[in-house]
């Protein structure tokens, strides 16, 4: 009996192994294992494929272009409805292509996207894609340069920086869709109550710097006795109102504004040497550490955890005077406020420069997409002057085309009355380049290493920025060394 059972089991194991071996092998490009140009690895550049097999036929012989949504924004119910309407608009006006938005929960985007690639079922288009997710799956994207050249597409209408964000040395990952410049959201009521002037809206006023921000923020930080953080009797154990918050971003973003040579990139341009311990980054992190633990105008990790637990943003409850965030926060946090708010430029850094980090969205074409030419046509349509405003209204971004600025401005005035809209558009000129989300080797691993450093500061586990960034830099260097050892 035992012998027979063994034979049967052995046969089944053998059969399953053979069946597994006969399964089609994945053919997709590796994710995040190659470097952009400037390194020793070259990125493949395929010509536009106009004659690819049409295996995903849509109605009436149309080619179906599946758009993978979930890497960033686009999954809220309202957005899903709006995207379906957009698809309807496209499908009724195009004879040869049909589009369909595939909505994937954001928390599943990586596994679902990778599963589709490895299963030979790559989506035709992916987006809206932030700089970070473009970086995360960098080597899976098609270079769209040949498509641009084949169509002689004029890019001059796009904001120059928006084009640059998608342009890596060997690859253009997509046409710009939208930009999310950053600036300070401030609570006018709290400024009024403290008898302070609002932050300047004058982009030329260099007196609005990090020292001034610190001083203002301390004056706006109050304990439960109403004393501010400058008062000697201030009680840091019972703070009820904070002056400043920048807790929604990671280390690269937080320190990108401090003017380091590599701005938001923790490596040198060849990606081989870690530079997270640059003097500018150390100065920036110490400013935050002091802001939390010495000057008390920034909430610590416990305060942030409480906000997360309550499901509120730092600005909405009205207990934070200044919140540094992006345009996407307009849609997310500027509705139904119980106080008046406005926006102001981010201050000048100690080097006398203004850097206001930026987020950006695009659509990208996977290298393994079956209908790349059709996907390119859809990408052009989504970013065309006629449609881009509608698309950006869905996703809350500033359209990346200059020609639609006035049209979009009218929309902003309707949706968010009373703001200084100039701040939004002017902030674009001060973006961080290299961007704080841009590709680096082992993108996710280095992000985690850096954010652990920030967590050390916010938790109070280590308050010395030099120590934090020296250790973090060593860790990043180790990750880079391992990467380059495996990818000579």
């Amino acid at each position: 009996m035992k012998n027979n059972l063994f034979k049967v089991l052995a046969l089944i194991v053998l059969a399953s192994v053979i069946l597994s071996a006969c399964a089609p092998k994945p053919t997709a490009a590796p994710a995040n294992t190659e470097a952009p140009a400037g390194t020793e690895v070259s990125a493949a550049t395929e010509a536009p494929a106009a004659t690819e097999a049409l295996t995903t036929e849509a109605a009436a012989g149309k080619v179906k272009v599946v758009i993978f949504v979930g890497m960033g924004t686009g999954t809220d119910p309202d957005q899903v409805d709006a995207q379906n309407q957009l698809a309807e608009k496209f499908n009724t006006s195009h004879d040869n292509i049909e589009i369909e938005f595939l909505i994937v929960p954001h928390e599943e985007y990586a596994t679902r996207y990778l599963a589709m690639l490895s299963g030979g079922n790559a989506p035709q288009l992916v987006g809206p894609n932030g700089v970070s997710t473009v970086a995360e799956f960098f080597d899976t994207w098609e270079d769209i340069t040949p498509y641009i050249e084949a169509d002689k597409l004029d890019l001059s209408d796009f904001y120059g920086p928006a084009v640059e964000l998608n342009q890596y040395p060997d690859k253009n990952t997509g046409l710009p869709l939208g930009l999310y410049p950053s600036y300070l959201y401030y609570n006018k009521d709290l400024f009024d109550a403290a008898g302070l002037d609002y932050p300047t809206h004058d982009f030329e006023d260099t007196s609005w710097n990090m020292d001034k921000l610190r001083e203002t923020a301390m004056q706006l930080t109050l304990d439960n006795n109403g004393k501010n953080a400058i008062d000697p009797d201030f009680d840091p154990e019972n703070i009820v109102q904070y002056g400043y918050d920048d807790s929604w971003d990671g280390m690269r973003a937080t320190l990108a504004d401090w003017g380091a040579e590599n701005v938001g990139r923790p490596t040198t341009a060849d990606y081989k040497t870690a530079v997270a311990d640059s003097p500018e980054w150390i100065q920036g992190l110490q400013w935050i550490s002091d802001g939390v633990w010495k000057d008390h105008f920034i909430g610590n990790g416990e305060v942030q955890a409480a906000q997360n637990s309550a499901g509120v943003d730092p600005f909405g409850p009205g207990t934070t005077a200044m919140f540094y965030s992006y345009t996407w926060f307009l849609a997310e946090g500027l509705h139904d406020l119980s106080f008046s708010a406005d926006i102001a430029p981010y201050p000048y850094n100690p080097k006398g420069e203004r850097i206001a980090r930026i987020d950006a969205d695009n659509f990208t074409i996977p290298k393994d997409a079956q209908h790349k030419q059709e996907a390119w046509e859809v990408m052009k349509w989504l970013t065309s002057p006629e449609i881009i405003v509608d698309v950006c209204r869905i996703y809350g971004c500033i359209p990346a085309r200059k020609s639609v600025q006035s049209r979009f401005l009218e929309q902003l005035k309707t949706d968010y009355p009373g703001l200084d809209y100039d701040v939004i558009f002017k902030s674009i000129d001060y973006l961080d380049n290299p961007n704080h989300e841009a590709w680096i080797p082992e993108w996710g691993k280095i992000e985690d290493a850096l954010n652990n450093g920030l967590s050390l500061v916010y938790s109070g586990e280590e308050k010395d920025a030099t120590k934090v960034l020296t250790d973090t830099n060593a860790e990043v260097q180790q990750i880079l060394d391992q990467y380059w050892a495996a990818h000579p």
Partner: protein, 307 residues
Amino acid sequence: MQPSLESPRLSLARRESLWAYAFIAPWTIGFIIFTIGPMLASLFFSFTEYDIVSAPKWIGLRNYINLIHDQLFWHSLGVTFKYAVIALPLGLVVSYMIAVLLNQKISGINIWRTVYFVPSVIAGVAVALLWGRIFDPKFGILNPFLAQFGIKGPGWLSDPQWAVPALVIMSLWSVGGNVIIYLAGLQGVPTDLYDAAKVDGATAWQRFRHVTLPMTTPVIFYNLILGLIGTFQYFTEVYVLTNGSGNPARATLFYNLYLYQNAFKYFHMGYASTMAWVLFIIVLGITLLIFRSSDTWVYYEGQLRGR
């Protein structure tokens, strides 16, 4: 013509064997395809560089060598051991104590048993979200409760020193499963042993120490083994509470969380497979040690009688 299962050409024993295979086939096939298959695949991947979307590249033992030099591997192992050393014994003791209490003849005992068991049927994600709110230093109920006694509660999940202890406290929420198993064991202790002990003049403590405890060691052993495996597989709660980060300051970077990060965040599926096999070997080793030690402390009545 092939003989059927009912064919008189087959012996009774052969027919019974074939029927047995037929009945266990659905489970066996599922087990091979969905458990053995992935296990063998992961063993293969552990010797490869594999990023999920491109074909695995054979690299021999490099993943295993890199693991030895990976500080986060040791750190995550340390976090897991720290949690296991506190949570496992505490869970066993607390659930045993509750089971002993629930084994008393008091009114409404079934209601009490239900009350203690119900929390353990709630899914891990819901429990994590619930405790996330309880631990919240500002809006939670735990710190205000402690404040009643003049104790200033910590930032449970935001303080690196307190994050693991908080998770240990949270783990006590689901002791109900162990309690039920202990209760079954306690009710299986022959009453004649207690009667004999009483006749011999044993006190309540002596009856517990020399009758109840030895007679329930097989159940304690069972819960210990399952608890050990469970603590080394700890993942869901910490993933939910820290959003997969292992923060604050990596204080909650458990082994399985780091494994997950390597697999699905860094796309090092080969390396993650290596981690999975190393964890398997660690858990297997500890389990074997406990099995070996069981001769000295686990009492099987049947075995003794058979000697």
